[in-house]
Every structure is written in C-alpha cells, then in structure tokens.
Subunit: 355 residues, 4 copies
Amino acid sequence: MSWTDAINAADFEAIAVERLPAGTLGYFAGGAADERALRDNAAAYARRRLRARVLVDVEHVATDTTILGLPVSMPLLVPPMALQRMAHPDGEVATARAAAAAGTLFTLSTLASSRPQEISEHAPAAPRWFQIYMLRDRAVTRALCDEAAAHAFNGFVLTVDAPRPGRRERDLRTGFRVPPDVEMPAMRAVLGADACPSPQDFFALVDPGVTWDTVAQLAEELEGPLILKGIQTAEDAELACEHGASAVVVSNHGGRQLDAAGATIDLLEEVVDAVAGRIEVYVDGGVRRGSDVVTALGLGARAVLMGRPVLWALAAGGEPAVARLLELMRAEIELTLSLIGASSPAAVTRRHVAP
Amino acid sequence: MSWTDAINAADFEAIAVERLPAGTLGYFAGGAADERALRDNAAAYARRRLRARVLVDVEHVATDTTILGLPVSMPLLVPPMALQRMAHPDGEVATARAAAAAGTLFTLSTLASSRPQEISEHAPAAPRWFQIYMLRDRAVTRALCDEAAAHAFNGFVLTVDAPRPGRRERDLRTGFRVPPDVEMPAMRAVLGADACPSPQDFFALVDPGVTWDTVAQLAEELEGPLILKGIQTAEDAELACEHGASAVVVSNHGGRQLDAAGATIDLLEEVVDAVAGRIEVYVDGGVRRGSDVVTALGLGARAVLMGRPVLWALAAGGEPAVARLLELMRAEIELTLSLIGASSPAAVTRRHVAP
Amino acid sequence: MSWTDAINAADFEAIAVERLPAGTLGYFAGGAADERALRDNAAAYARRRLRARVLVDVEHVATDTTILGLPVSMPLLVPPMALQRMAHPDGEVATARAAAAAGTLFTLSTLASSRPQEISEHAPAAPRWFQIYMLRDRAVTRALCDEAAAHAFNGFVLTVDAPRPGRRERDLRTGFRVPPDVEMPAMRAVLGADACPSPQDFFALVDPGVTWDTVAQLAEELEGPLILKGIQTAEDAELACEHGASAVVVSNHGGRQLDAAGATIDLLEEVVDAVAGRIEVYVDGGVRRGSDVVTALGLGARAVLMGRPVLWALAAGGEPAVARLLELMRAEIELTLSLIGASSPAAVTRRHVAP
Amino acid sequence: MSWTDAINAADFEAIAVERLPAGTLGYFAGGAADERALRDNAAAYARRRLRARVLVDVEHVATDTTILGLPVSMPLLVPPMALQRMAHPDGEVATARAAAAAGTLFTLSTLASSRPQEISEHAPAAPRWFQIYMLRDRAVTRALCDEAAAHAFNGFVLTVDAPRPGRRERDLRTGFRVPPDVEMPAMRAVLGADACPSPQDFFALVDPGVTWDTVAQLAEELEGPLILKGIQTAEDAELACEHGASAVVVSNHGGRQLDAAGATIDLLEEVVDAVAGRIEVYVDGGVRRGSDVVTALGLGARAVLMGRPVLWALAAGGEPAVARLLELMRAEIELTLSLIGASSPAAVTRRHVAP
C-alpha cells in the first residue's frame, strides 16, 4: 500500500511496519516490559462510548481551539518524539512543516535529530513547543531552553515520568543502536561535539533527583509557559497547579516507562477533577481516531497529543504523508463532533461520554 | 447452502456473503470506522439473560401486536434500507411483499431503488412507513412525503442520526460505486432526472442544520405519525416527546454513523425511562434471534427493527427467502415467549430480563 | 484414548466425541440456538472461586449426604436423560447399575429407552427417581407414575421448563432422527404400541397449559416427593414452596430450551434465598469438577445433578466407565472438601465461596 | 536461546521448556486440575495498575528490606520447591548459592534433594528458612527442624494448604515418576534409608488432622520464627496471629492444590487488613515482574516469594543463571520503585495501587 491510499491512522502504521528496519521499528513502536500500558492505552479508548445528541445544528462545525492562548486548527497536537531522522531523512523538519500546514502545534524533543533553529527556519509558521528533561547540569537545560526561546518556541514541555529510562525489551531483543549518523544537534550545540553523548547514553545526563521545588523555580525562569508531561494522579495534578505549571499532559510516555501504568484516558478524569479548571489538561497515548479525541475532550482534556501515527506517516512518506494523516484526523474529529451534536470542541461535555 | 436450508438468520448471511460482489457486500455489511458499534450491537444481546418463569399457561402464545395502532403479526419490523435492487433485481418490492405475507411492517427508504407507488401496487397489503431525511430543500422532503401519503404509507420515519454520512471504510477500500443502473426513483420523480444526484452524492442534499423546531413543524404538517430514528439518549427522548414525535427508534444506524456509539440494546432503558410511556419506543441494530426481540420487549421496546438479515435473505433468494426468514423469526419469538412464560408480547416485563 | 485412561470428566467427553455418530453426538451434546446457555453453564463455574480454610481437621472427610432423606454417597446425582440406548446398548440399565455401585441416585426419564421395571430388576440397589412431563392426557402421566411407584422409585421429577421443545439446531443440521430400534418402552407400555409416538413426536403429548394448581394437585396424589426441575427465579421458587414441591432443581435443561437463560450456578443463590430452607434445592448444568459441586454446596444447593459426562462415559465404556466417572467425581469432591477445610458437605458454607 | 541472553523471567521459562524432559517439566510447571489457579495467579497481576507519582527524588533508590529482622537485598525471596536436582545436578545448593550472592533469602523444602547441612556448607552466607509439613509422626517433624536449626536456618515455614496432595493431572498424563536417583536426604537422614518413602509417597506421612492448637504448640517449641504458608482468608489470618505465627504467606501453593482458589494477589488485601500489622505478610504465586513485586508491596505485603522462574533459571544454567535472574528481578524492582516515585520498599503505599 502506498501512503496515498491510507484512509486512517492504522494504515500508516501498516505501511511503516513494512518499511522500517526491525531495530528502528522496535525503537519507535515498542513499550516497556510486557507492553501492557502500550496496548491498554489504545484498548481503553475502544471501551469508551459517546452519547450522541441529535437535531443540533451542525451545519457549521469548527475544530479549531486554543492551547494556552495559541490558536490551533484542532485539539490534536504533535508530541515530542526523539530522533525522527531515523524514520525519514527530513526528520523533525518534515513533521513540523506538516503540523504547520495542518495548523496545529509541533513539539521538538531535546532528543531530536534537528535543532530549534532548523524548525524556525523551515517551518516558521508552526506553533511550537520545546521538550526538555531536567538534566543534572541545570545550565545545559537552561541553554537548551534559551535556544528554543530564541527561535520562538511557544512553550516548554518538561517530561516528568522518566527519572530513569524504561526497560524497552524490543530494543534489547534487536540489539538496537542508534545509527552513528543520527545525532542530537540541539544537545551537541550546547555541550560541544566532544562532550555530547550518543543518544543511547543520554539518560546519564538526566537528574533523577528533581523535585517540585526545582519545577517551581524553572517555571519562574522560563520565557514561556511550562507544561508538565507525565502526570498520572490527582495528587500530582494538584501539585502541578501549586508549582507554577501552565498545563499538564496526562501521559505514561506512550507505555515506554512504567508498564503497570493505567491507560491514560482512564486517568484523565481524576486529573481534570483535581485541576478544577486552574490549568489546561492534555492527554496522550493510544489516540488513533477522531472519536478518541472527542472522548478525551468530553472527559475534560483541552487537547490530545498523538505520537506514533505521526512517526508512521513520516516513515511512510515524509512531510506530505504527515500532512495527510493530520488532515484525516481533523476530518474525523469534525465528523465525530457533527455526529454527537457538538459544533465545536468547546461544546463537548462530560454528558457526551457514557459513564 | 441454498436458502431453503437456512434455519436461522445467520445462515442467510452466510449465503449472501458467498453470493454478493465484494463491493456490494461491503456496502450492506459495513459500519463506520473500526466497526465497533456494528459488532457491539449484536454482542450486547449475547450479554443479556432472560429470566424464565415456568408453569404459566402457554397453550396459546400470540406474537401479534400493534404499532401506533397498526396491527402487525409480530414485534419485528423491517427498517428502511437503501438500494435493495443491489441485493436482488426485485429489490424493495420483494421485501415489501414478503413483509406483507408475514403480516409485518415494511419501511421504504428515501434512498430506495423502488418508489412508493410500486410498493402500493405490488404489496398493497403491507403496513408501511416511508423514511425521510430532512433535506435542505424542504419542498423536496415534503413532495416525497406527499407521494408516500398518496400511496397509503402509514407513517414517516425521520432519520436524525445522519446530519453527515458516516465514514464507511469498507466502501473506501473496495472503491465501491453504486452501479449506474441502480437509481433512486422516488428522488428522481421529485427532482427530475437531470437534477437527481447519484446515490453516492445524496448526502449533499441533506440539511445538517435541522433542529427540534423543524421537527415539531414537520410533525404538524404530515398526514401520519412521525417516528424519529436515531435517538440514543434520555435527553433526546424527552425532546422527542415534547416536539410531536409519535415514536422513536433507539438506533445507531446499524453502526454506520458514529462508531463510538453504544450498543442500542444498552441504550434502550434510559430512553424508555425518559419517555415514560408517552410515545412508543422501538430499537434496531444487532437483532438476530427471537430472544433478542424478547429482550428488547422486556426492556420496554414495543418492537424491534431488523435490517441486515432481511437484506441477506433478499440476496439469497428474493421474496420467498425474506418470507422464510421472517417466519423463522416469528417462530423464534413465539418459542421464546413460551419458554419465559409469556403468552404475548404485552406479557413480557422488565422482570423477565436479568439486571 | 481408552476410557480406562480417563482421569477426569472431560476425558470421557473426548472419547465419546470420537466414538458416537455425528447425529447422536449432536443430539446429546447440543443446546438450543447459539448454545450460549450450554457454554455459559460451564463457564460460570470457572468464574467462581472457593475460599480455602486451613488447619481444619480433615483426617476424615465424608462425602455422603441425604437427598429428601435418602442416603447417597455424595452430593452428585444422575439426572434424567432420554434414550440412553443410543449411547450404549445397555442404556439406562448400565447407568443405573453404575449409580447404584457408586451409591448415588439415578433418575429415569419418561423418554428413557428402558422402563422402570428393568431398572428395579437390574439395579435394585439404586436409589432412584422417575422423571415426568405433564401430558395432555393426565391419565397417561398418572399411569407412568404408578409403574414407577410399583418399582420402588423414590421420587418424581417434574420437568417444568419445557412446555415446548427447544430449538436444537445441531439436530436440524445433521437431520438427526432417532434410530427406529430405539424406543420409549415406558411410554409404549402405557399407551400401547400403536398409540405410542416416536420419540421425535413425543412433545405433541406434552401439555403447555399446565399451571401451578395442577402441580399442587399432582403433589398430593403422588406416592412420593415431587421435585420440580427447571426453576430459574426466586418468584417460581416461592411458588414451588407454596404448591407442594419437596425440592426444586435450578436448571435450564442443560442449555437445550431457552438459550438466553442464565448460567444455573448464577441463578442458584436467588432460589436458595427465596426457598429459605423450606425445601431442598439442587442445581444442574455445566458441572464437570468436584470443585463445581462444592461451589454449588457453598451457594446453598444440597446436591448437583451431572448429566452429559455420564452419557459420555456410557458411550465410552458402558457401566464400568460410568462407575469410574462417578468414582472420579466423588474423589474430586472429597479432595476439594479437604482442601477448603470442610469435613463433610454439611460443613460447606456460603463463606467458602468468594463473593 | 542461551540463558545468558535472557532478559526477563519469561525467557528463562522458554529455555527450560526446551531443555527439561516432558515429565519433569510437567511436574514443575503443572497445577491442579484445570490449572485455573495457576493461570490466574499471573493473570491477576496483569489486571493491576500502579499509580505513578512524579518529581520525587529517586536519585537513590534502595531495594533492601528486612524479613522478620533479617536483612535482605530486596523484597523477593526464594520459596521452598521440591527436588531441585531434577532441574539441575547442583539442585538446591545452586539455588541457595545464587540467593546468597543476590543477598536474598532461600527456603529449603522438606522434600528437597539436598539436606540442610549441604546448604550451610556451600551457601553459608544465605539467609535461609526451612520448610516443613506437619507429619503424623511429630518426632520426625521435630527432628527435621532440629537439623535445620543446627545449620543456622533462620525460620520455619509450615505449609498449611496441603493436608492432601492436589491432583496434578499433568503428572498423570505423563506418568511422571521421580527418577530413582533423586532422593530426599533430609527425610532419609531422619527416617533412615529403609523407612524413607519415595518422594511419590511422601504425602502418606503428612497429617491431615492438624489444627491450630498444634500450630501454637509448634510455634512455642521452635528455635526461630514460624511462618504459615498457604493462608487465603481473613479468618485464617486472624487465627494465625492468635496462634503464634510470626508471618503468613498468602499462597495457593502455586495453583497446585485447590484449583478453584483465588489469585493470591487478589486475596492479599483481606489478609493484610485482618493482620493489621501484627505479623508480617508475604505473598507468592504468579510473580514474574518487578512491577508485580511492587504491586504486592502496595497492597501490604512485606515481600513476595517467586518460585517457578527460579526453577527455570536453575534448569537453564544452574547457579549463575539463577543469580542472573535474581539480579534482573532486583533491577526491575528498583526501576519500578523509581518510576512510581518510591525510594524504598517502605515508601510504597496502598495509594500507589489503583483501586
């Protein structure tokens, strides 16, 4: 199948599975341990049901919304994903350009194979965030943020669910190593070529001792909002509100960290209830359909982040394939809104989701 | 297998699957997106249990009932289904004649490949409804209803769950196109041959902006009762009562519209409770057995509509096959009533269904 | 596999499946319609859990109990099953002799291929019941009971869940007919050879109009206790107590009548609660393990009836095979009692079954 | 696969399955009857979810804890398992040495193919328990304990869920017999070579009439704490506290005794609640992952015992393979603690486990 024949997100996966080398495929597709969380993220959406209201005027259905004040074409954003040049030579640039074309937000990973400047040059229109880890050397984290800020990134996503890397057994099985020509230029620019570790060894730089106080300090220093990715409990949602976060992403790192984590859509409600409107809440993990997005909206998310299908589209056909995927998703969101009688994301309520 | 050997509804499906071209089969069999609702409609019946009462006099068990005052031989009706000439050259006429022979109600779709006059001529004895969409051009809707009324249709079924067509991915996979010789004569008669779209493009005529006020107005104008098909919530059931509907069909369009919709038998109770006896409630989707029908009765439906098996029988053997299917279903309903100690549909109560 | 190698009930089934002609196998093994009740009867036991108590003295564990005052070696009885000569030339006589050897109760069906006199002659030691239907001609029912009473049958089991025969689709598929040499001698003795129908047509004699008053009258007339088989609800359990029954069997006829019936072990508790100790309660359907029996005891049954495995053993090796099966079951019951810390059936309580 | 390539517990099983003779494999792998409890022990962990807390300082995560005051490197212990020389010529000695190397506790079975003295000689550093049955001849039990005490065993595990051996049908299928060269030297030393039964006949020595009073007496006599293995209910947990036990193991004997027993992780909470901190609670059965261990800690266990994977590692590669397995498990526990924000076993609370 060519990606031009793809009619839904699953199709792009089928194409990418054929096309990527086993090691790279395992790296992108895999989760931790037995991949329970990986599977359950998606399966949990299939257990949800929407309550369709009828005879609502849906002549005009809008999918656009705002994310921390930033206008986006739909409540589906592109999350940080590492080393996208392993999926396609154009890597993050292609993804960012496709997101820009689709009118939605792109997030650049600290582990990206492209640096912030490339994104701002090649995809200037993309609303964009930069993802960071809290490194042992705070100055490095700071320098990364500074470069991102210099290139007009609109927010900073701090990953909080990975004090240590999860155990990705697929990588151990395939003996996967990042190809030597795939680098982390953002890291290298800050650390210098000699001091920059290989992507494999990146986690040695991450500080597993970070606590909420550090987060509060970071929130004050950054030139832009701080989004915490990896919140799974009401308790931490409350702490996020108290420590300067502008938003949280309910996430289990796509099932790549704690395999015993709950499905994110099942964790969303307790986080939304704890936050009580003080900050924005997003969710990622397992999103494959427009109806998944609308389910998340109904349970209180302002948007979802959808990762792996974007990688599959990137591998399948680069920028135009990603753009095609994002348009398919937008159309599915629009159709789902129409069919439940909601003319915009804001019109979706908890009553639209079956208990 | 010949249809004369068919002993239950599933057998007719097996025959039709062998016999129909892939595209046509996909069109009739398919649902939206991942076909979750399609599968769950049927699976939900298999999760239900009846509570059999014994030592009740079931020497005489009657299956007949009335639908909006119209006598029918059983609480199982034939719903609107489009373009039945794709299943069999005799199309809707065969189905209507079989329904008439079985003593039950037939519904003609606006998208039918036969027009109301043909039904009245060839199946004059059939109690019958006409199904409509609210079109952008209200005069067309009105003209369609007028023709139906002129041919003694007994009620009007307004489909309310399809402001836009669902995404039927099987059709996209097969590249299905309605054969050029299969037309929508009712539509053509009203619009004229030149202005009449192909069935593929029909939905461009449908008005996605319709609201309850329009329904109330329609209910007043029509020469016959208005039945709303596609109600899924207590909220809309209440609104249906308030806006002139004579009945509602709890339906998710056979899983062809919102894929995240609940199984209809699971939605029935909240609708029945909301309606509280003010109007009649029917249910469609997933009915394959007499025990499914009795389950729906127990949960408060006055009748069910069973669609796809009728199409499979039509494809398998035309009118006599449909008549055979309907008689098999009637016999199953009668047997189930006997075995739970209910001598008529009216004798079935909520206590007959396990909580 | 030879039956002498069988180590559990399932083994006998595997042997019988190899050995019986397809039609006969389908007749014995089959359930109604989609065989949901048939499967669920067994599956429901696998969903149950026992709560093992430890450090109870189980040096001596007794499995014997009494059934309506009749001593039996274990709380597992042989239910009525028709036409056992189709499974083995020795038919019901072999089964009765094996039950007698095992010290448990045997039930002769009205549809048996042996008559009461044969049982009393060849298995005089067997505690035994006779199963009846309420026939349109009450005198015939009465005459059957008289013959049973004359041959020292200890009780009468009235089947109440079959006012009409269930739809056994396996028989329709195989075109099964009872072989002409397999007869119903008990029926023939009463009706005369000319008036006696073939087993196929037996149900024409059954009266679907019987009600509780007739049962009360029958209970008064019979020379022995009346057991009602086929009770599924608290309501009917209450009525059974009020109309002279000495016991009820919670049963869905082995899944051969109402396919939408609940699993019998799941129905047991409401019947036990309704009866509140006034009469004895048994359960049949799906029993395959000693732990199933103990589960039923814990939920309030005084005994279970286990049918099909007995037929499989009969087909596999006649009387000695049935005796072997019954001994395996008794040993499993004894072991299960030991392992939950109960030294007798009476020591099993509802606390031994997980909620 | 060589065991040196094994990356998780399941890998060792795959290797052992290839390597062990069918009979031995069945003996070690099998459970009772239909092996429901065996399967459910593991499946129940996969149904559990942990609640990850983030931004907790996990720079230093310790897995060590104490068991009845004895320091161990992690909350995962090695339970008693019989006849380990059938898995590897070095048998229990290899296992004990690996446990000692890993810093955790080893338990020697009464049915071991090594005697206490061998363990103390070859694995002097291992914290160790000795497992006993209450034998009909109390003097034998006492003599076994004396020998264990003489070799510095730190506690005594009394198995209480096996008054009789479970029905292990795999052994019946394979006709398994313990090879004549595999003996029970601890038993033989006490009974003398002539009086010592074969392992097959061991259970004839076990007293099924033991009650709580005997346990209380034993607890007083022993030179060391008494741990009761096989507790499944709150009632028995309470009795254990009252009769001198220092700890209980929630266990269903690895699914080898009562097949209808609940999954042990599902039974843990009621036992923990009943004990209310008076004594220590452990759990065994189905543990395969570090997240399983942490789940058990969250539900109130002080440690888990993990049996079969140890046997598989032993069969796969003897002592170094067992050591490797134990280190993999310790690393998984450490990682899981990190990822839920707990810096030690003691930091795990019931709030870390989803309800």
